[in-house]
Symmetry: none
Subunit: 400 residues, 2 copies
């Protein structure tokens, strides 16, 4: 990828506007009966028109064969090296709920879970207890261990953030979630020598949690993952000389956007709500990140038809966005989530870029196979921001 410092040195402020629509988990795999992916199955006249008038390709968030988590998927889309930038799940959840992180805090994402009387995990999500129940349980977990303050904050359903606050903590602690049921939680282990003290604190905290939750079935244990500290990232406003705003229905994506310095616009729960928010604030910003979650959720649930429907919902509302006439529209995903795999995957992501200055290609529909023939080729997702900036005429010439 082109060094961000170079992009920064070329970026100039102009009145032109960029909208980046991220359809989470967009890429898919063909349903064997039809040979068509979710996107190819969906009826998407508006996306197809944009693809026909724009330039298409398949973007790779991290690299060939690498299945990205949501954090590297998005950091790449925002133009940051997803390998160099390490955003832990704990930090992500915390910034997504506006938790005031301090620079030395070590954070983890917590799940309430159910264990049997031998301590074996029977439900990693504690029956997906409601957010209100989590909120009532969280304060029980708060404590002080060896001078380290342990704070919590509920997120959504069974998920919460846990914060270890005090001097000398390291995020180099392995997760305690074994990733499947029928096993014991994994003991917290230090990944590096400097994290032994932190791992011991985490172990003692888990013991504490086991005690205070003993009679709170189904939420009678916790699993922790994504130990991390807040990264100190350059802000999109500084790099690109943009005024960027994020519109997302899910806290994690708002959190990611906040980490790179976007303003977070409050919105509702649907794509229609998001587009309403976009319209209301259209004059106040020159870059909008609009995030759609439903597609990924359907893909991860293995529900091909629901993912098709989620894509069609996006498509049918799209004229609202197009009618605002942004100078550049990017439609992409942060990774693929084929229903067939019920998970994120490594497959490159259908991407289209529409502007008056793109060199159109022969892709006349928005699909994995059309994008493969597109003018952007198979390309790193970190190129999307430089390309969007170039097409918005926001990058000066490089060199004499």
């Amino acid at each position: 990828m082109i060094n961000q410092e170079i992009i920064k040195s070329l970026a100039r402020q102009t009145p032109s506007k960029i909208v980046m629509l991220v359809i989470d988990g967009l890429g898919g795999l063909p349903r064997p009966e039809t040979g068509k992916t979710e996107l190819e199955t969906a009826h998407t006249p508006n996306l197809d028109k944009l693809a026909a008038e724009g330039i298409c390709g398949l973007s790779e968030p991290v690299g060939p064969g690498i299945t990205p988590g949501s954090a590297p998927g998005h950091t790449a889309l925002f133009g940051y090296d997803p390998i160099a930038v390490n955003i832990g799940r704990g930090v992500l959840e915390a910034v997504g709920i506006d938790f005031p992180i301090e620079p030395d805090d070590v954070l983890a994402r917590g799940n309430f879970c159910t264990v049997d009387n031998k301590g074996i995990i029977t439900d990693r999500r504690a029956g997906r207890i409601g957010t209100d129940k989590s909120a009532a349980l969280c304060p029980l977990l708060e404590t002080k261990i060896d001078g380290i303050q342990v704070l919590t904050a509920p997120v959504r359903e069974h998920r919460f953030v846990i914060v270890f606050r005090g001097p000398g903590l390291s995020p180099e602690v392995a997760e305690t979630d074994p990733g499947q049921e029928g096993l014991l939680p994994v003991e917290a282990k230090a990944i590096s020598a400097g994290a032994v003290k932190t791992a011991n604190t985490v172990k003692r905290f888990i013991e504490h949690a086991g005690k205070v939750l003993a009679d709170k079935h189904p939420a009678n244990m916790v699993l922790l993952r994504g130990f991390s500290k807040k990264p100190d990232l350059p802000k999109m406003g500084d790099i690109y000389k943009l005024k960027p705003a994020a519109i997302a229905t899910y806290p994690m994506y708002r959190g990611l956007a906040r980490l790179v310095g976007m303003d977070i616009l409050s919105t509702g729960t649907t794509f229609a709500d998001e587009l309403k928010t976009l319209k209301e604030h259209y004059n106040d910003y020159d870059f909008f990140f609009v995030h759609v979650k439903k597609t990924d959720a359907a893909g991860e649930d293995g529900d091909f038809d629901r993912k098709v429907k989620a894509i069609e919902e996006v498509d049918s509302a799209l004229p609202e966005l197009i009618n605002l006439k942004p100078d550049v529209i990017v439609v992409t995903g942060d990774h693929s989530s084929p229903a067939m795999l019920k998970a994120h995957s490594w497959h490159p992501v259908p991407t289209l870029l529409y502007s008056s200055y793109c060199r159109p290609d022969k892709a006349t529909e928005f699909s994995e196979s059309a994008c493969l023939q597109g003018g952007l080729g198979i390309f790193p997702a970190t190129s999307i921001m430089p390309l969007a900036m170039a097409n918005a005429l926001k990058l000066s010439k490089y060199g004499a």
Copy 2:
């Protein structure tokens, strides 16, 4: 890109010959009425035949979204990392007119300009005064400031080179050209702490220029940009074991070629002249860089039809080149210059490589859309030299 040291370790001298024809600003954008670019509109039977028999692709000089200046565009074509190699505009202009640069010299490109009685720029090019007028004015600018000798040399029209010669100078000085009319010239500022003294010398020089030019309207002030020192680049002859020669009608491109160690062959003003020169010296060298400027000039002027015509002129003279039967012919550009944008642009550049050993693809014409389907794909321009060398059977096997 492949490390140049590796290429150097593999390069071997052979009798085979490579001709690299650089059609400046070659790539374009479609004219809305026809959906065809300049190259697609031009009637180019000879280029089409080469494309059909050779291998095609789209080359990216610097990277996705990056619009290259002429210097990075050409350094990439010559196989040098265009990010690592920084050739300033001052150096470029100076080597283009054969000015004998000393290693400690700091050079800048100067423009004579017009300012009003408040010092505000009314014409950044002083009405494009003739080269003879510039030549008469340049000596007035020469002076000595704080022991630093200030030398000048006219280039073409309103453009000249200015040389600050003396100990302890730094090129880290910001340009004084605000880039648009209606503003005051920018005060020369040091970009780094080590350049404060140089910036002061430049400031005092500008005051001097204002005095000696006061009654020389329209050339009553100067703008300086591209402060730079001569880079110490490895020579093409050493890296590739080639004996390289440059044929170019414009000084800047001869200058670029000289910086990488090419011999400069004198030629006339047309492509026919260049081909005559090529023929005359064909036995004396094994690598020829032939540069065509007219295409870029037409693109920058926004003249679609003139660019089409310039491409057709190249095509119709091409048999002269082909009949010399070089082992490898490369036809490419240093960047795109779509008439629609009236400027250099970031769009990847149509590129063809013809040799007996390339693996031909399905591209049967030389055009942006055919190149997109070509066997070279979308690829970095720094790969062109290794590919040309390989196709000329000038690179040994790598590794045991």
